[in-house]
């Protein structure tokens, strides 16, 4: 059932893929940086908000005028800052929404990732009140509507003895202190919780991607700047308690739930909000992901080099003092509750080399379900001449749906848990022992790797920029990397394979990264 839901969601992402992949290279594709883009929008909100704060006056009578001053008289800076503040807030809702949907449909919320998923839910509960309190501060007709509706919602919580909404009936009962409270919540209280929440959200990740590429940041900022100049954010008329605004220009990103307060009731809106949050909170266990066999450490082969710790995307490996009396100071230890069995630690282990001939291939760290020795045996078994020439050995991610097509196209296909699962000496082993004429790596593109860092580590190891590095004798023109977006239909993989095979028939000229 849940797989069906994931599948439908992936179908939606496939629809998005076409225009985005036509417009952007992989490293500039905003769909690959949704979380990081949200953080960047928060930076824009912070900087523009500081400017607004300088001129904002927290009182019933002066709040509206101070915002009008910024919007009208200081339009060239204050007005632009106000619009940036608003549009960046709106854009953040888009990226948050897509981020949540993407993590869900690609099943990146279960197993050990439950923590990142669950800690993201309070962030949503902080972001919305943050935006809503921002609308209060303008104190125009929209603010009046938002204030009364929010108060109606809060009044439904059965802990207050007085009606909060009653405070907005006439101007004489509304005090400046109330604005001070709202300003405190919007400027200090909620942002502090937000920053802490973001830290909690990513702190289990190794090397979380906090910032998008600079070019993307510049493009997004320019995009919002142009929007701010062309279509500046403006207020409604000043709030008037004696009057009800009949037609409002609602910001649907933040205020979409407000019309329901009137058309349903505050109680049912709470049921909706708490219901959605509850369903999301239990989603990682409903149903739980398949049990994974965590990586295991073999102390006889572990020299405590720490590369597995550096490369683990989820911080599941740590170094602890040696327990077996060998002369190394530390040994690797796996926290099975954090291990996703991606194999990136095996790919980082210098002892996971297939060239061993005198001793069994037991690396310092290995996956019980897909051992390094098993992969070496697969390579040797599939070294027999294939139907097509030249012989191309394809390594594909275990969930790769294109493997069957490639097999029919004449390729020997070996699946691994992630491209980063392969230690680079395997490529040397394949080529130097003549198990194939070329190697095609078919994995998920950077930013969409199911295990976050597999594509990045693989590229860096092959480029000899990261340990363990590919040996210099290995001809990199015989290794092609084909990174696919996870929402891709992989139709290009066969074409990529054939193009690579064609290059192998002719003398190589350069190293290339093939994409489709």
């Amino acid at each position: 059932m849940i797989e069906r839901v994931h599948s439908i969601g992936r179908g939606v992402f496939r629809l998005l893929r076409r225009p985005f992949s036509r417009a952007f290279d992989s490293e500039q594709n905003p769909l690959n940086y949704l979380g990081a883009l949200t953080v960047f929008f928060l930076w824009i909100i912070l900087v523009s908000g500081i400017w607004l704060l300088i001129f904002f006056r927290t009182s019933v009578s002066a709040a509206f005028d101070s915002v009008e001053y910024l919007t009208r008289e200081q339009w060239y800076l204050g007005g632009v800052m106000r619009s940036l503040h608003r549009y960046a807030s709106d854009a953040a809702i888009i990226t948050i929404f897509l981020h949540v949907i993407k993590e869900f449909v690609f099943d990146r919320y279960r197993s050990v990732r439950w923590f990142n998923w669950v800690t993201g839910i309070p962030l949503v509960w902080i972001v919305f009140p943050l935006g809503i309190t921002g609308y209060w501060l303008v104190w125009d007709e929209l603010a009046q509507y938002v204030a009364i509706s929010s108060a109606e919602l809060i009044d439904r919580i059965p802990i207050f003895t007085d009606s909060m909404a009653g405070n907005f009936m006439t101007a004489d009962v509304l005090s400046d202190r109330f604005f001070t409270l709202m300003a405190f919540l919007h400027l200090i209280g909620l942002p502090i919780f937000l920053v802490f929440g973001i830290w909690l959200h990513v702190f289990r990740l190794n090397g979380p991607r906090i910032n998008p590429p600079r070019r993307m940041m510049a493009a997004v900022l320019l995009c919002l700047l142009v929007l701010s100049v062309v279509y500046p954010a403006v207020s409604h008329e000043a709030a008037n308690m004696a009057q009800t605004t009949q037609v409002l220009r609602l910001d649907w990103f933040y205020l979409h739930v407000f019309p329901l307060i009137q058309s349903w009731s505050p109680g049912w809106v709470w049921v909706l909000l708490i219901g959605i949050s509850s369903v999301m909170t239990i989603a990682p266990w409903a149903p739980p992901a398949k049990e994974l066999q965590p990586a295991v450490v073999d102390l006889d082969n572990c020299n405590g080099c720490k590369r597995c710790v550096d490369d683990c995307p989820f911080g599941a490996v740590e170094m602890v003092p040696r327990t077996d009396g060998l002369s190394y100071s530390h040994e690797a230890a796996v926290d099975s509750s954090l291990c996703v069995s991606c194999g990136l630690c095996v790919g980082a282990c210098p002892t996971a080399t297939p060239f061993r001939s005198r001793s069994a291939l037991i690396p310092g760290i290995d996956l019980p379900d897909r051992s390094a020795a098993e992969i070496r045996n697969n390579i040797i078994e599939q070294a027999a001449p294939a139907s097509a020439e030249p012989r191309v050995l394809v390594f594909g991610c275990k969930d790769d749906r294109e493997a069957g097509k490639l097999r029919r196209a004449g390729a020997n296909v070996i699946t691994v848990n992630c491209m980063g699962h392969l230690q680079p000496s395997y490529f040397d082993f394949v080529l130097s022992r003549n198990h194939a004429d070329g190697i095609l790596l078919l994995g998920c593109q950077d930013g969409n790797c199911n295990y976050r860092l597999g594509a990045a580590w693989t590229e860096q190891r092959i480029a000899r920029e990261r340990d363990p590095r590919l040996r210099k004798r290995t001809d990199t023109t015989k290794i092609a990397l084909s990174w696919q977006a996870p929402w891709s239909d992989f139709t290009g993989a066969v074409a990529t394979f054939e193009a690579f095979a064609a290059t192998l028939r002719e003398p190589p000229v350069a190293t290339g990264v093939l994409t489709s």
Binding site: P19, F20, R22, A23, F24, D25, Q28, P30, R86, Y87, D90, A91, I94, Y145, I148, E152, D155, T161, D162, S163, A165, G166, M169, T170, A219, V220, L222, C223, L224, V226, L227, Y231, A233, M241, A242, Q243, T244, T245, Q246, V247, L248, R249, L250, D251, W252, F253, P259, Q262
Partner: protein, 163 residues
Amino acid sequence: MKLLREVLAYAAFAAVVGVLSVWPRYEMVSQDEAIISFTFSHAGKRIGECRTLTQEELNALPPNMRTLSDCPRERHPISVELRSGDALLYKDVLAPSGIWSDGKANVYRRIVVPAGSHSIFVGMNDSGIDGDFEFQAAANIDIAPGRNVVVRFDEQQQQFSIR
């Protein structure tokens, strides 16, 4: 060409942000309607009389708890009714708040009414005795479209206001 597509993609993104931040418009009340906001927070009378403690009873109490009278905490529910002419806009019996039923009863309602002339009547009974309202007010008001008429109980003046 790729750059042009990129620019178009960002422009589309900006358009989505710009449009959904103000559109579609939301009609809260239609052009010929107005609002009556009815709100108050008021404690009903206590369900029993207060009793003056004797000197012996006072002496038996710790010094910090020696109050002269002993009053029951629980309060009566409040009956309330709001009418426009013959039309009943709101009627309820409001329970006191708090786990000991000793707090204020409160109400807040936003009622959409057609614009035009209204004879508004509001009444409240806070003693639990059947019969006439102990607090009441009436007013004939010509309500313009979009106007917000507030009917509330002023705790200091102990009377309703309609304005």
